[in-house]
Amino acid sequence: MRKQLVWILVVVFLLGIGGGVSAQRKQVSVLWAEYDGLTPDYASNLEAAFEKEYSDIDLNIISTPWDKMHDRLIAFVAGKQPPDLSVIGTRWLLELIDMGVVEPIEQWISKDLFNNIDPALMEGKIKGVLYGLPVAAGTRLMYYRSDIIDKVPETFEEMLQVAQKINKPDEKFYAVGMSGKKYVELTEYAYYLFGNGGYFFEILPDGSYGKCTVNDEAGVGALTFMNDLVNTYKVTQPGVTAYRRDELQDLFIAGNLGIFLSGGFTATLLEQRGATFEWSVAPMPHFEGKPQSTIIITDSIVMFKDSQAKEEAGKFLDFFYSDPWRLEFDKLVGFPPVTKSLANDPAFQKPVYQVMIQQIPGAKGWPLMPEWPECNDIIWDNIVATFLGEKTPQKAMDDAAQEIDSIRGM
């Protein structure tokens, strides 16, 4: 009995020491997005290397698929248990600021890191306060089968002509990929809308957003063209409403699509999966008589006010943004570098990066507003209703604009 008691005391003592040691280590949790192309090894290697460098910090990287990021983050925040840091789509930032949960980040990072980031990419700066550091930023572009397509289409009208020539549905080869199933954002519509000179909202003189404008000539024209591709010319894969963007990407990589509009990550996946056909990239097409314009998407990393380890989280940011880790990250996710020190690295001189950079001057971003996730869904549901023949493009976009203005109180 006495011997057992001694053993119990020894175990309790050892556990106490262990607990004491771990209690001394500050915990930093990072909600981490699983980008296409980013291998799981990257996050685990980053975690191990950081903990080796900072043995007093316990880093916990919480990997999450991109399409679950928003909902998971909201569940953490609403449960009053936000992580210390999180990767976010920058378009969610206003929503988080509206909730009053994000911390201005500039004071927690080193001057070197701040100065190393291209100011043009600091979309996370709201009213002069920097809330988010850019993690990834890139314009969307056109992938095409260079072994099949001789003349690269510059306009959507040319794209349609090419599509009609190469479409072979009997051989399960479809000219243009089109996604109609929700996947994070409605990028598909943005490609055609921006290429037609349109935008989601009118921009007021003070820079704020006015009424929804998806039912103007550009918005309805863009949807009419998309619907024609799907239902009139039938040059897309059948059943567009069943395809998410990532599933469409798999179809292109499998060699079943001629043209696919996407981001830099597709190039990485094409290489990683050893695509057997020849492919190339070109600027996003636009409609005849309209200026070339595509969407630029930035993701940011933000710090939360409730973090108990802001200083340590700042150290992680400095570590993650150091050249070796950023180079590896940028190469895997396929976006051009956000840090100035890597801008001239040979890894980023490939055509895909060149096209993405070349498109930046005319590119437009997502609207930054707290209600955007709901607006996004409303527009998407109406696009699907058009594809299914339930509404005309005009009616669909009229309904979308009316509902969006209504929820925004306009």
Binding site: I74, D98, Q237, G239, T241, A242, L388
Partner: protein, 296 residues
């Protein structure tokens, strides 16, 4: 050592033992339920905090949306069809498994697979199965010449709804079959023998012996199935996420959308209360019929 009177009273000790479970229930069941009910009557900020009393405002907001009523009707249709089919299939399978035949054990083991598998994983497998170009289902239908141009199951509202429904049924049949099988095995064999002596046909035996004696099990199993099916989030979320558009949304996926995608916790809470109300009424009706029949 003599124990105090307190410890000698058995019921008091029983209450003491119940404290941990009661605290757990209060914290993790009653508190969330009460808070959701409160939320439904308040304006709620994006962090889920109550801001100001809103009366029936959240309910009115939802009632004014035609889409909400479509979702309510769809949820009821979804549950009614799924439970009816699961019950019918489950009963037939249970009757077959209650007969002696070679390979009965293997058949029972195979039956349990859909139930033992994780629902999201089953739904993902079915998602691939439904793929129009590369999926097993359409490939089989085409290869066998059964259907030359089968639908793109998840692309059209009606076929997507049916596709979701089938996966829910597929996942739920084993439970029903096993529960019915347990009920069948509890029916005394003598009753069937007596019926045979009286010249009963197989149908008469089923109608006048099996069904009445299985009614208690049937009631409990269908009630449980109704509650689970009405709240089946996994299948729809994985297969279609409520799409195309909102054509396969049921109340539970619609609540999720409002709460965690749009951060409109007030209307989401109102819908949760409505769901709770619907299921409470169903449960009470079931319980009444169960006890009236003297099943217990």
């Amino acid at each position: 050592m003599t124990k105090g009177k307190f410890w000698r009273t058995e019921s008091t000790v029983a209450y003491l033992f119940m404290i941990p479970a009661s605290v757990f229930l209060l914290m993790f069941m009653f508190y969330p339920i009460v808070y959701v009910i409160l939320m439904s009557f308040f304006r709620v900020n994006k962090l889920g905090d109550l801001v100001s009393f809103f009366g029936w405002g959240n309910f009115r907001f939802m009632f004014d949306k035609p889409e909400f009523w479509q979702v309510v009707v769809r949820s009821c249709v979804w549950t009614a069809i799924a439970v009816a089919v699961k019950t019918a299939f489950g009963l037939v399978i249970a009757l077959l498994l209650n007969v002696e035949f070679v390979g009965k054990r293997l058949a029972r083991t195979l039956l349990i697979i859909p139930w033992a598998s994780s629902v999201p994983i089953s739904a993902m497998i079915w998602q691939w199965t439904y793929n129009s170009d590369f999926g097993l289902l359409n490939h089989t239908l085409r290869s066998l010449g059964v259907w030359r141009n089968p639908p793109i199951w998840l692309a059209e509202p009606r076929s997507a709804f049916m596709a979701n429904l089938w996966v829910d049924i597929w996942c739920g049949i084993p439970f029903m079959a096993l529960v019915f099988l347990a009920g069948l095995q509890a029916i005394p064999q003598e009753l069937y023998e007596a019926a045979e002596v009286d010249g009963a046909t197989p149908w008469s035996k089923f109608r006048f012996v099996t069904l009445p004696l299985l009614s208690g099990v049937l009631t409990v199993a269908t009630l449980l199935s109704t509650l689970w099916t009405f709240n089946d989030f996994n299948v729809i979320y994985v297969l279609t996420a409520g799409g195309p558009g909102t054509s396969t949304d049921i109340l539970i996926t619609y609540i999720y959308k409002y709460a965690f995608q749009y951060l409109r916790f007030g209307p989401a809470a109102a819908m949760a209360v409505i769901t709770f109300g619907i299921l409470l009424i169903v449960s009470i009706v079931y319980a009444r019929s169960y006890f009236r029949e003297g099943a217990l």
